[in-house]
């Protein structure tokens, strides 16, 4: 790790917001840290919608990405990470100088291990639809309130969640069955 953290001009402006966010998360808050690249808040799924509400009120309108991570065998095992930026709307947006050092924030949501469920943001941002389906497909994390939670990258009849750490990299038995595929993947142990 570098000796000194580079000062980010947007950090100072975010300080009161972080305070408000920790309050919004309430008992669901796990930690709020100033990470090297951006500020981040770790929380339980229960506080997600309240925090997102507060963030949207502060102008965080662009949901950059939703990603999943499996920390197996650590617990909590699954991490759903949200990256957001605030793009100011109004005049002079064609001047790139106005869009320098935009406030960024990362939310890390840790659902419970056995039945991972996270509230869906697809109703708030249409762009959240596919990434949530992808995480459902690859990690088996369910998104409550998602309008169309199906597998995205893998075929609908695929068994297992490939990006879980206990899913093997290779060595799957596959055999061709006329009219469909059976027993493609052994069931994943919880």
């Amino acid at each position: 790790m570098p000796e000194s953290i580079k000062p980010h001009p947007e950090r100072a402006a975010l300080a009161p917001l972080i305070e408000a966010l920790t309050q919004a998360a309430g008992e669901h808050l796990l930690e709020a840290v100033a990470a090297e690249d951006m500020d981040e808040i770790a929380l339980r799924p229960g506080g997600l919608l309240a925090v997102i509400d507060r963030l949207r009120a502060h102008g965080f309108n662009h949901l950059l990405d939703i990603g999943g991570t499996d920390h197996h065998p650590l617990t909590p095992r699954y991490e759903i990470s949200y990256h957001l930026i605030a793009i100011p709307l109004g005049d002079n947006l064609r001047n790139p100088g106005r869009l320098m050092n935009l406030p960024r924030i990362r939310l890390r949501v840790f659902p419970q291990d056995l039945d991972p469920v996270v509230p869906s943001l697809a109703g708030i941002w249409p762009s959240a639809n596919w990434p949530e389906r992808e995480i459902f497909d690859l990690f088996g994390v369910r998104f409550e309130g998602h309008p169309d939670l199906r597998r995205l990258l893998n075929p609908d009849d695929f068994v297992g969640y490939p990006l879980r750490k206990d899913f093997p990299l290779r060595g799957l038995e596959r055999r061709f069955v006329p009219g469909g595929r059976v027993g493609a993947v052994p069931p994943v142990k919880e």
Partner: protein, 410 residues
């Protein structure tokens, strides 16, 4: 209108014809073999006559598990699979990954020569990618000759790539800590030749397409997005800039000294296919300007950092230094460890904000490499862009979003 129920569609032998109260609709599967879907996109269109009522893109045909593979390779080795995601701009992918790993390792002393070459080659990659887009997009619209102009120019760029890195397509030239090898003798003449030749060729290409009445008619007013919608659908890069938001990572959060280069961020305000078209054409000119400035700087010195724990020693040293041999052996057999942590690194790829959320658990392999693939979000926006247009316009819209399916499906 609810999204299409594919399972019901499969069971319905009546090829998707649905009797409505007022109008009948027809479900049409466009792709994955349709030429304008650039390989492997399938769009389920619900049509009323020739007008699209709903569009549901189906992806995953090119899913190769690159993220899973990257987790099972050493930090340095993973560059090879990372390159293969967005196969039209491989060096943008590896730059993003390499910068993220360097941030986790705390390396901030990349030699100036390596930084300049990184900028120069990612911009060359951007040109090559935009040229493929220009050729194929216009081909989709029915223009033939521009394709040959664009690919002739792209071939020159690929020749430079081959000359320098040894590979035309998947260069894997960037390394954590610098570059794999220095540029060969005679490189500067090649790049000078390219820099001198490009503006004229670009002007030729613009003369063919930019004011071409067929292209203008096919693109103006099609696939319009407002700024709010573009943000809600997670667009970045040229589609976002075509709505008048000059959001470019090279300016908004500079890396590799981009803040010291003099270039514009081209924008348009219409937000339609033609605006995206013009933004990309202007971007090509700006990339050329950056390459020219990088060529003018072109400092001497090494292209890798002097850290034997990350970068293997030069071959000549290995032959007579035992310590160098040990370092080389350790790096080849077990790689290096990266301190525990996670970081989000974004670069401006030809398609938009390419981000990587890299998590390290302290081992010699990345624990998780999460992409933020720009094409993924752009393809998703088809759901919003296609309805209300004709089938032929869907072709124009897909082309104007410039998705690359290695990037969407990974």
């Amino acid at each position: 209108m609810s999204s299409l129920d594919l399972a019901a569609f499969r069971d319905n032998p009546d090829i998707g014809l649905e009797r409505g109260d007022e109008r009948d609709t027809l479900v049409l599967s466009m792709g994955p073999q349709h030429p304008s879907t650039h390989g492997v996109l399938r769009v389920m269109l619900r049509l009323d006559g020739e007008t699209v009522v709903t569009a549901e893109p189906e992806i995953g045909f090119l899913h190769t598990g690159i993220e899973k593979q990257a987790e099972n390779l050493f930090w340095q080795q993973a560059i090879t699979v990372v390159d293969r995601a967005d196969y039209l701009a491989p060096l943008s992918n590896s730059l993003c990954y390499v910068l993220a790993a360097e941030q986790l390792l705390g390396i901030d002393n990349i030699p100036p020569r390596a930084r300049v070459l990184r900028v120069m080659f990612t911009e060359l990659t951007r040109l090559a990618s935009h040229l493929v887009w220009l050729g194929t997009h216009c081909l989709d619209l029915g223009a033939q000759s521009i394709f040959f102009y664009a690919f002739e120019m792209r071939e020159r760029i690929l020749s430079i790539m081959e000359f320098v890195t040894g590979a035309r397509m998947h260069q894997s030239w960037f390394r954590i800590g610098g570059l794999a090898i220095d540029v060969p003798v005679g490189f500067l003449d090649t790049i000078d030749d390219f820099v001198a030749r490009f503006p004229e060729r670009l002007a030729d290409m613009r003369a063919i397409v930019e004011k071409n009445v067929i292209i203008v008619d096919r693109l103006v007013g099609i696939g319009k997005l407002t700024q709010h919608e573009a943000i809600d659908w997670g667009l970045t890069g040229p589609p976002l800039r075509a709505t008048g938001i000059a959001y470019d990572i090279r300016r908004a959060r500079p890396y590799c000294d981009y803040e010291t280069y003099d270039f514009e961020v081209p924008t348009q305000t219409a937000g339609d296919c033609y605006a995206r078209f013009v933004v990309r054409l202007n971007e090509m000119h700006e990339s050329w300007r950056i390459i020219k400035q990088a060529r003018e700087r072109f400092p001497g010195g090494p292209v890798v950092i002097d850290d034997r724990k990350i970068v293997p020693p030069p071959k000549t040293e290995i032959q007579h230094s035992m310590e160098a041999l040990i370092h080389h052996f350790k790096l080849v057999s077990s790689g290096f460890n990266v301190p525990e942590g996670h970081v989000y690194q974004a670069v401006e790829s030809p398609r938009g904000e390419m981000g990587m959320y890299v998590t390290s658990a302290g081992g010699n392999k990345p624990w998780r490499v999460r992409w933020r693939p720009p094409s993924f979000y752009h393809t998703q926006a088809l759901k919003r862009l296609a309805p209300g247009n004709l089938i032929a316009d869907v072709v124009a819209i897909i082309g104007s979003l410039d998705p690359v399916f290695g990037d969407v499906d990974r």
